[in-house]
Assembly symmetry: C2
């Protein structure tokens, strides 16, 4: 794993960003220096390796997909008016919104450039997948924004939103690695679905951690989604299961601007607890994991070739702790 991270880090560091116009490229370098777990490019390399491909052929596209992910964070942070990303001020805070828009645009262009650096034989399918994924991620972000103003979002709609906003990208990262390795079409599709289901489980885990996670381990203040009135899977599921009184309490807590943060978190969490939402969330994650495992089992490779990717997914979902 360290080796993968080193390859990716080295590749990203070598992208020339200390050039003119400074006001365009400095914010891009600032985003990238911020690090992150590099989950997506690691997935591309793991899938390439699993299917016996040449990692060097997949590396530029892996890095390109990480750059694309950073582009989405940059623009999403403007739209969500988020002040902090990875413990540093966001680009629109550190500079301004115009700088964040334009630096994001050029980062998108740079990401596409690197994604396209696959061998010619794989260029067309990698690009088609990339543009489809970009389009879907934009659709997911739009649904997320639309849902802020709706009070009748169903669980199904929520799951489709997070599928688009967060799950298709890891899926595409895995499939890109598979394409570059020359995997059969059926296996490309299976690894895509595996990634999508792991991505869904990962987002549910994120929703769950925000309420039930440990501040120290997670590095985020617990309850941030509740304070921000973010409609997570927990909230939507709770609203769905709640009786009239509990529904009123939830909606009131989310709309009452006079509430102190701690009190609001306590109120909402108490409804979640009454309804066993934490168990429901863990159950749902397990379901997704089981479905993902079925996809993985059907991939036509010896078990030992799959173990590294499976172990990585387990680690992401914290299943080994």
């Amino acid at each position: 794993m360290d080796n993968y991270l080193k390859m990716i880090g080295q590749y990203l560091d070598d992208i020339p960003l200390t050039k003119e116009p400074r006001n365009l490229y400095e914010p891009v370098a600032y985003c990238l220096a911020n690090g992150g777990k590099r989950i997506r490019p690691v997935m591309t390399l793991l899938a390439c390796k699993m299917f016996g491909g040449n990692l060097k052929e997949a590396l530029p596209a892996a890095a390109g997909l990480e750059l694309f992910h950073n582009f989405t964070l940059l623009h999403d942070d403007i739209m969500d008016d988020a002040p902090i990303r990875r413990n540093k001020p966001t680009v629109h805070e550190q500079w301004n919104a115009n700088t964040a828009i334009l630096s994001g645009d050029v980062l998108f262009a740079i990401s596409s450039q690197h994604v396209s650096k696959v061998p010619d034989a794989h260029l067309r399918p990698v690009l088609d997948l990339f543009y489809q994924t970009v389009t879907e991620v934009c659709e997911g972000q739009q649904y997320d924004m639309d849902f802020e103003n709706r009070h009748d979002v169903s669980e199904e709609e929520y799951l489709e939103m997070i599928r688009l906003k967060t799950a298709v990208l890891p899926a595409a990262c895995l499939k890109t690695g598979a394409i570059v390795a020359g995997a059969p079409a059926a296996d490309q599709e299976l690894v895509y679905r595996f990634g999508e289901l792991i991505g869904l489980a990962f987002q549910l885990r994120d929703d769950w951690l925000d309420v039930y996670g440990d501040l120290e381990a997670f590095g985020k203040k617990t309850g941030g989604d509740i304070v921000a009135n973010k409609k997570t899977w927990l909230y939507i599921k709770a609203l769905d299961k709640a009786d009239k009184q509990q529904q009123e309490n939830l909606i009131k807590a989310f709309s009452d601007e006079s509430l102190e943060d701690d009190e609001k978190i306590r109120l909402v969490t108490s409804v979640y607890d009454e309804l066993n939402i934490s168990d429901d969330a863990q159950q749902k994650m397990k379901e997704y994991y089981a479905l993902a495992s079925v996809k993985m089992d059907r991939i036509d490779l010896p078990g030992e070739q799959k173990s590294e990717l499976i172990a990585y997914a387990d680690q992401l979902l914290n299943r080994n702790k």
Copy 2:
């Protein structure tokens, strides 16, 4: 020409945009319905035709380049806080800034998708050119924003800014047509330079028209750039030629917020007139046109094959009136 416009219009109309999420795709459709002169895709088709290529093979990329141009307008209008585009409210005015950012992002993705629909043999060079162009257009926009806060922009810097912001795109449109037609590398380069020089002349003409153009013919109020404190070639050239008193008058007119629009236009234009800036601008356009003609002459094709593109460039620069 009508035939080219019809092909492009038909292709753009067939892109499915009446789909969910509506808040994402409706603004994209709104931009495209707004029309425009379709200069860039026409250039791609003209270059393809000139080099004996198949127009159908160039059409998707031509349309993709027009979509990219529309994407840049959408995001630039947010950054410039422009209320009107082609006689209709801009997207961020009609909806809001977040909608304009995200619809722009998806429009960029859609544009790339169509640019990539060239025959496999031409995919790599077309993409490389496209990403290089996108990056340069972002750089040009950044320089343009940087120049707003500077009072020492040289003519050379200004010309490099408009080269990046506006001239490389028509250049890339022509070269894309040439690539798809299988033109020799030397001719691809020549037609690129032709497009760049015509693009520079076209932007100077735009700067000139803003002050000396006819409201009725041009559809814009004369002096808009002056009212907006936009540093055009005319302003930079005037500052360069002016004596101390004239320099003070210019800078004062641009910084005095108490001035009525008409009075400001009158003051600035009178300095331009004293310095013969209008003649200088026309001279500069002629120079660019002459340089462009040299490039065109060196393209290894019979004159009659070049005449359609030359006539189109003449028409753009209004040389036949």
